[in-house]
Structures are given as C-alpha cells and as structure tokens.
C-alpha cells in the first residue's frame, strides 16, 4: 500500500540553481525494503508452499547476493559521470564539475533487486599496482558485470588494450563475469562514425582475445552518452542479464501487448528509469524515450503534490458528505495510475505502479482510446501477475492496518526530509 510513487520522498529539486547543492547521498525510498529481505522471505514462503522444491536455480551464481556492477576504464572516460547521472540523477551538464576519482566509490542501490555499483579510479591499475595489492576475490567474487567505459571522442587504443589485459586476467579465475563495453560519449558523433568505432573496437578485442586463445568470453558492446537515453538503455540491458527468470516477465508483457493493442510495454525501475523487462516486439528507442520521460513527469507531480503531509483534519473532512466513505473506499486503486492522450493520433500512454520500485508503462496503437476500460482491466490483471512474480504479496491485513502504516511512513518521511 505504501509505495514509492505515491509516497515519494522529496528528493531535492535538481533543476533549480538556487537550491542547495544536492547531497551525494543515495536516493533511498522511505519505504525501502531491501530486496534480499524480500528474496529471503519469498524463498522461505515459496519453500513452504512447494514443500521440498526450492526456487528455480538462476542462470548465474550471482542472484543470491547483491549483484555488483563494476565501472572500469581509463581516466576521464566518464565512469563517475555515468554513475552520477543514472543513479544519482545528476544533470548531465553538471558532470563537468566532477573530480577525478581517487579511490573506489561504492554505492548500493535498493530497488526490486539490491545491487552495488563500484566506480573505479581510472588512474589506478588494480592488476599491476606497485603500491598496493588488491584483494581480487573481494572485488570480483560477487560481480555480476564488469562495465568497461571507453571514451569514443578520444584515442581509444590504450583503453582497448587495457580492457584486453583485464579480460585475460579475469578469464582464469572469474570466467562467469559478464563483460559489457560502453563505447561512451558518442553524443556529437555521426551515426556512421559511431558504427565504425563500434566495429573497430569489437574487432580489436576479439582478434586479440582469440590470439590469446580466449574464444568464449561473453562480451557485449553499447554506444552510450549521458546526454541522452542511451546510457539508461545500455544499463537496462546489463541489468536484465542479472535478473532471474527474465523470460517469464517478458512473456507476461508480450501477452499484455497482444491483448491490449499496446505498441510497446516496459517495466521500469522508477528510481533509475532502467527498464528491467519489455515485451518481445522489436526494440524501439523512441518508445523507450517517451515512456521513460513519462515516468519523469509522474515523479515530478508526485513530489510536488504527494511527498508532504496533509494536516490532521484532512482525512476526516474528506470522509464527510457528499462522499461519506473511508478514503480507501473512495479510491479506485491504491497504486498510482495515470494516462495521457497524445494529440497526433489519439494515442494513449499509460502508467501503472506495480510495487514500491516498479512501474508498468505502455504506449498504445493509434486510436485505441475508446478501448480504455477493457485495457484497464487487462492491465490490472498483469499488474497482479507481476506482483506475484516478485512475490511481494499484499495480504488483506495490510489493508486494515493501512492507516497506521501510512502514518508511519509519513512520519518517517517528515523525519527524513
């Protein structure tokens, strides 16, 4: 019932130059429930339900802990900028003021899945450091993915050879690590040039690795920039590789799109605007952009009108005639729901909150506005399905206890802000 969208903390406004400098602290929802708790709970619940059958083993051995994303690459390649923009909502142009990173910056992120992001200093070579021996297990032991950032606007040969050396180091002891290469700062480069660079980097890495006898390293490449949605898309795809049973989520969204005539549906992590799943229709940057911006709109409205406490008499007044009912019974849905009609073709876009971290956003075919009631029903069903997927069930008791829990949340909120 208490949810991140409808009850957001007022994270400091970042567009206003007069506001105090934003704290570097992580944005954490007031209702934060660590996901490994949930995972644990769910596993136990699941085990009770299924008797001896343990939950499906996951593709990688990582899902049990907190998957860790390592950001590595040359100095000034943009690692800290990426982590600040994606995880701390820093406006891209303010990354100009970031200082070079001197030691590993560890962030942990509470969301539908807890993960850690480690931002490495580009100036330090962890494999070959005269002053200090790094504990490799502590760094790479629980890693989900290594994100290697290459500055595409700079000479990238050294970055490529460093990456090769890193892959060779890791192949021996940590072969399961996903290697994700972000060819970064591609804003301002022509499309042709971007593809040329991507081809060149790919070939250089694969050739050298096969010269060294490494054939099966899993390496993916992305063209990214903090000045547009590409960095969020790239992160989305990396994170998706770490989600257990992603296929089921995708199937759920695909069937929703088919029944409701959606063009595209995304399941968003609201705080980061990373999408953790989409339907199986072809990728479409434009749809991602508009859906992601829609989440932003909702977040802004939620902060402005929903992140502060109403006066004590507020509820009592609202429960009087002409609507003498408990507020909970006056509303249609206790989760955030929103829709908008785009003028060009009467095309609706909808958003539905799934739980405190996730929201479903979908954009529809032209002219499907008149089918809204039917669509709402179907969306309700899918949201239920998603909730079950994440096994964050909301038993009836919470509803009765709702008043207290909301008050509790609000007090927390007031204290926190």
């Amino acid at each position: 019932m208490a949810t991140s969208l409808t009850k957001r903390t007022s994270s400091t406004e970042h567009r206003d130059p007069h506001s105090a400098p934003r704290s570097r602290g992580l944005y954490i929802s007031p209702a934060t429930v660590k996901l490994n708790h949930i995972y644990e709970q769910n596993r136990q619940r699941q085990q009770k339900k299924d008797g001896v059958k343990a939950p499906e083993p996951t593709a990688t051995p990582l899902a049990k802990g907190k998957p860790r994303l390592l950001l590595m690459g040359q100095r000034r390649s943009g690692k800290s900028s990426i982590s600040s923009v994606v995880f701390h909502k820093l406006p891209p142009n303010e990354t100009l003021y970031l200082e070079s990173t001197a030691r590993i910056q560890k962030d942990s992120l509470n969301s539908f899945m807890d993960f850690q992001v480690w931002d490495f200093p580009g100036q330090i070579d962890i494999f070959d450091n005269p002053n200090f021996t790094f504990d490799m297990d502590a760094i790479f032991g629980e890693v989900g993915a290594l994100i290697w950032v290459i500055d595409a606007q700079d000479d990238y040969l050294e970055a490529v050879s460093k990456l090769n050396a890193t892959i060779l180091h890791l192949q021996r002891s940590y072969p399961h690590i996903l290697i994700e290469v972000f060819i970064h700062k591609v804003d301002g480069l022509s499309d042709d040039y971007k593809l040329d660079i991507q081809r060149d980097v790919t070939i250089r890495i694969q050739d050298e690795l096969s010269d060294q006898g490494v054939e099966n390293a899993s390496i993916s490449f992305y063209l990214t920039s903090i000045y547009n949605h590409s960095i969020f898309e790239a992160f989305s795809k990396v994170i998706q590789k770490l989600i257990p049973r992603l296929g089921q989520l995708e199937a759920l969204l695909t069937s929703l799109c088919r029944t409701c005539r959606f063009d595209k549906a995304y399941l968003f992590d609201v705080n980061t605007k990373i999408y953790i799943a989409t339907d199986s229709s072809p990728e479409d940057v434009a749809s991602y952009e508009i859906c992601s911006d829609y989440v932003d709109v909702i977040i802004d409205f939620t902060e402005v009108y929903g992140s502060w406490q109403r006066s004590p008499g507020w509820r009592a007044k609202l429960e009087q005639p002409p609507w003498p009912k408990r507020l909970e019974d006056q509303i249609g849905c206790d989760l955030a729901e929103s829709g908008m009609i785009l003028s060009d073709a009467q095309r609706p876009i909808i958003l539905r909150e799934v739980d405190r971290f996730l929201a479903l956003v979908a954009i529809m075919h032209e002219g499907s506005y008149d089918k809204m009631p039917l669509i709402n029903m179907n969306v309700d069903e899918v949201v239920k399905g998603l909730t079950e997927f994440f096994e964050i069930t909301k038993p009836k008791e919470t509803r009765v206890a709702g008043k207290d829990s909301i008050q509790g949340q609000m007090e927390q909120l007031a204290l926190g802000s």
Binding site: M1, T3, L5, T6, K7, S10, E13, R15, D16, P17, H18, P21, P91, N93, E94, Y97, A286, S287, E289, I290, D293, Y294, D296, V297, I298, D300, F301, T302, E303, V304, Y305, G306, W308, Q309, R310, S311, W314, L318, P322, W323, L327, E328, Q330, I331, G332, C333, D334, L335, A336, E337, S338, G339, M340, I341, L342, S343, D344, A345, R347, I406
Partner: protein
C-alpha cells in the same frame, strides 16, 4: 544598439510596458554591459516612466553552484545602483529642463526585478511567468473565477497554463494547501516539466514542437492526491489538483468542462506578451 539610443530613441522607448534586460554573467566586459544598460534605462525613464524593468542575469549554469548566489547578489547590487543613478539623473534633468514629469515615480517603482536564469534549468520559467503575470489583462477577473471554481470542486490547487509556453498565467491555491505545500517553486517546476514533456511528445510523433501535443492527462496517486491537466480554452490548459477519490475526480472534470465558458474571454484577440514589451540585453536569447 547605438542606433536605438540615438536616432530611434523616442520611437523605441515610448510606450514601453516592460523592459527585459539580459546580462551575460560570464561577460568579459561587465563595465561596458553596465554602461549600455544605464543608457537604455535612462532612455526608458525619459520616455516611458511607468515601464517595469526586469533583469535576467543569464547563463548562470556556467557558474559553479556554490558561487551562484553570491555572484548573482553582487551583480544585482551593481545593477540596482546603476538604475537608481540613471533615474536620479533623469529626474534632475526633468526638473531642470521640464521634461516628462517624474515626480510621482519613486525609486521603489523603478527598481528592477532580477532573476538568475539559464536555458538549462527551470529558472527562465519563473522569470517569464512573473513578467507575463504583470502583463495579463483582466488578471483579477481570472483570479476570482479560478477561486470560485476551486472552491466549488474542493480542489487543492488550480493552475492555468498558456498553451505553448506552459507558463503559469494564473493560479489559485486552497488556503490549507498554500500553507502546507513546501514546494514554493512548483509553478515554474511544473511549467518546465510539461514543456519538456511536450518536446518529448513532439519528438515521438514527429509533429512540430509548438503544435498541440496532448489533450488529457490524468494521474491518481492512490489515497494521496489526484490531478488532471486538460485543454481548457483555445489558449490555455488547466491543471486541477484534488484530494483522492473517484467520485470527486469525476465531478471535478465535469465542473471544469462547464466552467470553460466562464473563461472564454481568455481567447480574446490580443496575445498578452506581444504588447508593449521589449527584450534587449548584452547576450543570450532563448525560446522559453
């Protein structure tokens, strides 16, 4: 610029309602900027003694965040002083030479209203909204009617946006919400949000930025609040913020549709911003 000040002086500076003067905070020649400014406001005091002066200290994004406030304050202080100096001089001249009568005008009337702005954040919305607010005719009528509508539907807040710029033309906030909502900057913030959203839509649909991009927006935030934004009159969108509840929401939508006719006069022929205002400055123009 020189031309405006010499041959065309009377022509340009007569019947000015508003002067918007833009300073580049990173200008290499601040003295020259101030000198030009003094000349401009002198001409203004000479020919349009009732004009309002708005000063935008622009490109603030180029200044380190911690230094912005101090830089802004320092610059505004100098500008204020220059304004008063120019005013005193014109007044003296008028007294001696018998020019336009400035006796009824005090320093407080000519004091420029200053804003720190940048095209990279919401600051321009705040500045422009204040400027527009000063220019809208029949403002008090609009405000009274919004208040009547707000009270009738038990809204928390109603905003009226200009259709293309999404600047807040007028607003009404219930007494409690006005007391309790901690977001003092929410009007410019929402302008910025909706304007940015319009650009997103235009990119998606491939239609021109300034054409209509959306008609209806609804958001029900559980047992927290509800809001809708909808096309209102030809030139405006209305945003209504309500306490939660389906019935309340539906009733409000109906009432807003009915109230549309009260506001028809907003579609009168004169576009408010275009009349009697001049934008000038040392650098930095923008499309808000």
């Amino acid at each position: 610029m020189e031309n405006y000040l010499s041959q065309q002086r009377a022509h340009v500076f007569s019947n000015v309602g508003v002067l918007i003067y833009v300073f580049d905070i990173e200008s290499r020649d601040v003295d020259r900027d101030l000198f030009t400014y003094s000349n401009i406001v002198s001409a203004l005091f000479q020919f349009s003694r009732d004009a309002k002066i708005f000063v935008l200290i622009h490109k603030m994004d180029l200044i380190q965040p911690q230094q912005r406030e101090a830089m802004f304050d320092a610059r505004v202080n100098i500008i204020r002083r220059k304004t008063f100096e120019a005013f005193a001089l014109i007044r003296k001249q008028n007294r001696e030479l018998g020019g336009q009568d400035t006796s009824g005008v005090s320093e407080a009337d000519v004091e420029p209203q200053a804003f720190a702005t940048s095209i990279w954040d919401q600051s321009l919305y705040k500045a422009w909204a204040s400027i527009i607010h000063d220019l809208v005719p029949n403002l008090s009528v609009i405000e009274t009617q919004l208040a009547a509508l707000g009270a009738a539907i038990e809204a928390e807040e109603i905003l009226l946006f200009e259709r293309t710029s999404f600047l807040v033309v007028s607003k009404w906030t219930s007494e409690t919400a006005a007391r309790e909502n901690p977001f003092g900057d929410r009007f410019e913030r929402l302008s910025n949000v909706l304007k940015a959203w319009k650009h997103t839509c235009s990119k998606y649909t491939g239609t021109p930025r300034n054409s209509e991009q959306f008609t209806d927006f609804e958001y029900k935030a559980g047992a927290n609040f509800s809001v809708f934004v909808t096309k209102f009159t030809t030139n405006t969108y209305i945003q209504v913020v309500l306490p939660p509840g389906e019935a309340r929401f539906n009733a409000a939508k109906l009432n807003v549709a009915i109230a549309r006719s009260w506001f028809k006069f907003l579609d009168g022929p004169s576009a408010p911003v275009a009349t009697g205002s001049a934008v000038t400055g040392s650098s930095g123009d923008y499309a808000a």
